[in-house]
């Protein structure tokens, strides 16, 4: 299982690394400045709603990362191009971190707002299940010693686990949960003020940059780790 990738492409990924790290930190600094100082507090929740600026992007990217993971596993099965497998494996850890982040920040926000750290409603529970799906994907790969076999097996598991993603997405619409339904997705008239939308937008970009940066580092590491590089110029 080799990937034909040109040496200068890997060199490009390697040289882009510091810039991406810098851009990520820069975007987080700007986003945090906007979300902590430049946006008004909520008229009911006060300052505690500022957690939303990190909670919402990390939840979005937790779902998006799993969708990319499952999608690239499907593409790997169809095309047999091992690049998709490497993409899936390099993105899994970041997705797990995003899921954990959204769970922790949601919990911190829940304490002053709902009065409890955790409620067993559909959105929160399915998010917790998503976290364990990431764990299952990562550790199943580690548990099987034949790594090519391990990739196939864990890819099959990731595709089965994709059932959970629509459940998370629509849990707030299907069931009457304590978690509020989406306020941003109504693209024409978002039920959120522009002054709050700007920091959210910057934080989303920052989270996206974080995802890209860490995944590219992981991508290179996965290739090196498995000696999958057959470099050619």
């Amino acid at each position: 299982m080799y990937i034909k990738i040109k040496n200068n492409h890997i060199e490009f990924i390697k040289s882009a690394n510091p810039y991406l790290i810098f851009a990520t930190i820069f975007a987080f600094v700007i986003g945090l400045y906007y979300s902590l100082f430049q946006s008004p507090p909520d008229y009911i929740q006060g300052d505690s709603m500022r957690i939303m600026y990190i909670h919402v992007p990390s939840a979005w990217f937790a779902l998006m990362t799993y969708s990319i993971l499952a999608g690239s596993c499907v593409l790997w099965f169809i095309t047999r191009n091992p690049l998709f497998n490497v993409v899936a494996r390099s993105i899994a850890q970041v997705g797990m971190v995003f899921t954990l982040m959204s769970l922790i920040t949601g919990s911190i926000w829940g304490k002053p707002t709902w009065g409890v750290w955790w409620v067993w409603d559909a959105r929160l529970t399915s998010m917790l299940i998503l976290f364990f799906l990431y764990i299952a994907y990562i550790f199943l790969w580690q548990a099987i010693s034949n790594k090519e076999l391990a990739s196939k097996i864990s890819a099959a598991l990731a595709i089965i686990g994709f059932i959970n993603i629509p459940i998370i997405k629509f849990s707030v619409d299907w069931w009457n949960t304590l978690h509020q339904p989406a306020s941003i997705s109504k693209l024409s008239t978002p039920s959120i003020d522009t002054s709050m939308l700007i920091p959210l937008f910057i934080m989303t970009i920052a989270c996206f940059l974080f995802l890209v940066t860490v995944s590219l580092i992981r991508f290179r590491l996965v290739l090196i780790e498995n000696k999958m590089l057959r470099t050619s110029n």
């Binding site: 529970t125 799906l133 299952a136 550790f139 199943l140 548990a143 010693s145 076999l149 099959a156």
Partner: protein, 207 residues
């Protein structure tokens, strides 16, 4: 297919009474309810409905290592797969034997247990129907997890981490009294997924 079923049933019957231990495990988990929550009749009735599902899930989880692993390790799986071109016969016979050995004894003992937990006749029938239908779906899930994790030996915790999220829908709908149609739908869905994924896993390891 009937030969495979007969072989598996005989093997389990003569191998140190496996099903006896599963039933004991099931009873002992349910026996922990009064110790953990006290002996008020109303509370026991409520708790029994839910904990019976947890006990079933745990009993299936501890048996997941026994579905394909023994055959895989002593090479029987390769021989069976070489003889039968349609691997699905093997899988369906494994579903049937696994359900017979590890779920049927639990269902047989269930009315006695629900009598001990003060549930009346109608409630017992409801719980029995739900468990009967739901146990099939859980067996299907356990089978494909077992087939997928053949290469990962002695990783029962990992298998539990994979299986418990997949058991969640069964436990959600199972503890409702009249939700057996949903459980039936879930079981049929998991059958469709399971038979493909199990065949895929077995073919990967059989190569």
């Amino acid at each position: 297919m009937s030969n495979l079923i007969k072989r598996d049933l005989l093997l389990s019957f003569y191998s140190s009474a496996n099903f006896f231990f599963t039933v004991s495990f099931f009873i002992l988990i349910l026996m922990l309810i009064p110790f953990a929550f006290g002996t008020q009749t109303e509370q026991l009735k409520v708790l029994f409905r839910g904990v019976v599902w947890i006990a079933l899930a745990l009993s299936i989880i501890i048996t997941v290592d026994r579905i394909y692993n023994a055959d895989y390790e002593d090479g029987n799986l390769d021989i069976i797969m070489q003889k039968n071109k349609t691997i699905e016969y093997l899988i369906i016979s494994k579903y049937i034997t696994h359900w017979f050995i590890y779920c049927l004894p639990l269902l047989v003992i269930l009315p006695v247990l629900s009598f001990l937990f003060y549930l009346d006749y109608l409630e017992t029938v409801q719980i029995f129907i739900n468990l009967f239908i739901g146990s099939f779906g859980m067996v299907f899930i356990a089978n494909f997890v077992s087939a997928l994790t053949l290469g990962a030996r002695r990783t029962i915790f990992l298998k539990a981490i994979i299986m418990i999220p997949l058991f969640v829908p069964f436990i959600i709908f199972g503890s409702d009294a009249g939700s057996w149609p949903i459980l039936l739908a879930l079981s049929m869905l998991s059958f469709v997924i399971s038979i493909y994924v199990t065949a895929y896993g077995l073919r990967l390891y059989g190569e």
